[in-house]
């Protein structure tokens, strides 16, 4: 029973972090149908920023979060201007973006290798373990969840309480209709791209704790995990992303507790079940095509 309780709490905490990882990717794919294979690499670069700050300035690695956000916004704007308009003119945006962002991913990975080498790097633990219902959890795990909740809430507020968010949802639902209604697609797309990258970079320091360290190739696996989460949760819905993350975290954690050998497979089996039973994801709405 104690193990079940631990797995449950740990799964929820991890899941919220995974939701955080998925948010940025959700936005990019939802708005522009861009398959950002470099998403995980951006997370990793956020982690490396935290590592650099810790090792050179000896500050708390979480300072990397506020520092990484403006950097990612600028990088996102530049990357958008250089690549996305051309991509969106291509006859098959999804496939072209898959290839382009694979290239970006490889470049980011190579740059990380040159700068930080191939060894795994870790960050010093944030503090003493936190006791929840008499069991101890890593401080970084609790902090990650605690930071993921407001981040997901901000994402929700952006989508549902701002004009830009309304326009973003309109584009996600149907770009042509949104254009006909006067939505400035370019503004929505640029914002979504920049915000998506900022979320990725901000998740980086937390990922370094959650994954037991990062190396230049950690990003590939993270991207796949993020895609799994947003597909489970459904595209364009922050609550769905959070729920997808929590479900993923719970599946992973409970499998670790009771069927350890299946740890690598069960979350993806879950994905298969969700896709077969509810192709639009857990929080997806059915669309009637007239």
């Amino acid at each position: 029973m104690r193990l079940f309780e631990y797995a449950l709490i740990s799964g929820v905490l991890y899941g919220l972090f995974y939701g955080f990882i998925g948010v940025g990717l959700n936005l990019l794919f939802g708005v522009m149908r861009l398959v950002n294979l470099a998403h995980g690499d951006l997370v990793v670069w956020g982690g490396y920023l935290a590592y650099s700050l810790t090792t050179s300035a000896h500050v708390n690695p979480l300072w990397a979060i506020p520092i990484s956000i403006p950097l990612a916004l600028v990088a996102g704007f530049l990357l958008y201007v250089l690549t996305v308009p051309r991509l969106r003119r291509s006859p098959d945006t999804e496939t072209s973006s898959l290839i382009l962002f694979f290239g970006v991913s490889q470049v980011l990975e190579a740059l990380a290798t040159m700068k930080y080498g191939t060894n795994q790097v870790t960050l010093p633990e944030l503090g003493n373990p936190v006791t929840i219902f008499g069991q101890q959890y890593a401080a970084s795990l609790v902090a990650s969840a605690a930071l993921a909740v407001p981040a997901l809430a901000l994402f929700y507020l952006y989508l549902y309480r701002t004009r830009l968010g309304l326009a973003t949802r309109a584009v996600m639902a149907n770009e042509e209709e949104a254009t006909a209604s006067g939505v400035r697609i370019r503004l929505v797309a640029t914002s979504a791209f920049m915000i998506g990258l900022a979320f990725a970079a901000a998740a980086g320091p937390l990922a370094t704790f959650m994954l037991g360290g990062i190396n230049p190739t950690t990003g590939g696996g993270l991207t796949i995990t993020a895609f799994t989460i947003i597909i489970i949760g459904s595209l364009g819905n922050p609550a769905g992303t959070a729920a997808g993350g929590v479900l993923y975290g719970l599946a992973s954690s409970l499998t670790q507790a009771y069927a350890t050998a299946w740890t690598g497979m069960v979350p993806y089996a879950l994905l298969l079940v969700v896709v077969l039973v509810r192709p639009s994801g857990l929080f997806g709405r059915r669309v009637r095509v007239a």
């Binding site: 290839i99 790097v121 870790t122 010093p124 037991g212 190396n215 670790q256």
Partner: protein, 427 residues
């Protein structure tokens, strides 16, 4: 979607690797013309410049490169069938830690570059494709650290030679001896699902069952596992007297950090890689979290200077990294040791055929003393001479020191320099 992404990743990575490796070969002086009869002996190998095995592969590759440099500086390597010294040329490709890419590149080494012999990349995962190719194409493979039991379990095989480590199933023998001497009966075993780790876990399970014991926890995880939070709790729940975690470096690091971040204390924890990569573990896990843990003792922890081929350990340390001897790790030594095995094979080869070169090793089997110990192979090509004692990491100043606490062979008893401290004191 995941399947499409995954496939695209694999395909694009393979194309990238082939292009990159093509460029790498082009950059090697004379590599294109390096063939069996070009006045040089060509040695083909792979290394992982990126990916999860880069941490271990690159130091091993550096050790092999050092051997090439040393042997060429001495005028070349003596090749018995030619009765003269020949220069050695290394042809190397980057497999990016991907077994599929490695398969293509190993084939390329044999079919396109026509190397005389080839050397596997680090570890069992990247060695596995090379073993299959070596057996199929009857080409001599020097396997440095791919100690998976399955590579050597199908009877006599002249084409695969394990140079640096005993076969995985043999590694844990002294661990069982130590557990027994400490009267430990409740053992938890966590292993990664690959040849190397599975073989060790199964071997320990077998040894324990001979004593009528059953592990209180025996579970495998994917080699990509990085989150150990719930697993550690599950192990804790079994109240073990000893915890053995068999993984690759990234697994060991994540596991040990999980213990540290939740203040989880076990009286006996063994992980395989802190002995091989001390600097990395000190940096990523910290000396305090390593204190009183156990690991296999390998050179440079084992100081072997009585050799009859190549450099002794102290000479190697001084020449490999002058002024930075403490940065040298086992994998550097292992890469160099593989070179020495190649050197011995050619020096005693009966002909330039693959079996002729292999016969050279048979001639010196059990007689070769290298900085890793006695080089001895069984009929399947598995290393049976360089057995690994168990060491405990004990606090020393701001870091830690390795103390050998249990020998793997009677001859190693003289190396034991401490008694195991059990139960491990709490930090």
């Amino acid at each position: 979607m995941r399947r499409v992404i995954f496939k695209t990743y694999r395909r694009l990575a393979l194309v990238g690797a082939l292009v990159a490796s093509g460029l790498a070969v082009a950059a090697l002086p004379g590599a294109a013309s390096a063939g069996a009869s070009g006045g040089v002996i060509t040695v083909g190998t792979l290394y992982a410049n990126t990916g999860s095995f880069a941490t271990s592969s690159m130091p091993e590759y550096a050790g092999l490169q050092f051997w090439v440099k040393q042997v060429n500086a001495a005028g070349g390597m003596y090749v018995a069938p030619l009765k003269k010294k020949e220069q050695v040329k290394l042809v190397s490709f980057n497999d990016q830690s991907d077994p599929a890419t490695a398969t293509t590149l190993y084939n390329q080494l044999l079919t396109q570059n026509k190397v005389n012999v080839f050397v596997a990349d680090f570890g069992s995962v990247l060695t596995a494709p090379a073993v299959t190719i070596a057996k199929d194409q009857k080409h001599l493979l020097f396997d440095i650290t791919g100690s998976g039991t399955s590579f050597f379990s199908s009877g006599p095989n002249p084409y695969v030679v394990l140079t640096s480590l005993p076969v995985s199933a043999v590694w844990p023998k002294p661990v069982v001896g130590l557990l027994s001497s400490l009267k430990i009966k409740r053992v938890a075993i966590l292993y990664c699902q690959n040849d190397f780790d599975q073989a060790q876990a199964a071997a320990i399970q077998g040894f324990l069952s001979k004593e009528g014991l059953k592990p209180v926890y025996f579970q495998g995880v994917p080699t990509t596992q990085s989150d150990y939070s719930t697993i550690v709790q599950a192990i804790k729940g079994t109240n073990p007297q000893a915890v053995l975690e068999f993984g690759y470096p990234n697994n060991d690091i994540a596991f040990l950090n999980q213990l540290k971040s939740t203040n989880t204390h076990f009286n006996f924890v063994l992980t395989p890689f802190p002995g091989q990569l001390p600097t990395l573990f000190q940096q990523d896990v910290g000396a305090k979290a390593l204190d009183w843990g156990y690991t296999y003792a390998v050179p440079p922890i084992l100081k072997i200077n009585q050799v009859n081929i190549g450099l002794g350990l102290n000479q190697f340390l001084a020449k490999f990294a002058p002024g930075k001897e403490s940065s040298v790790n086992f994998l550097n030594v292992a890469g160099y040791n593989a070179g020495l095995a190649i050197q011995a094979a050619f020096a005693h080869a009966t002909s330039m055929s693959q079996l002729g070169i292999r016969a050279g090793l048979t001639a010196v089997n059990g007689k070769l003393q290298t900085l890793e110990g006695t080089f001895a192979l069984n009929k399947a090509g598995a290393q049976v001479g360089e057995l690994l004692p168990v060491s405990q990491m004990v606090p020393a100043g701001s870091g830690f020191a390795y103390k050998i606490v249990y020998p793997a062979t009677p001859a190693q008893k003289a190396m034991v320099n401490a008694t195991a401290k059990y139960p491990a004191p709490k930090a």
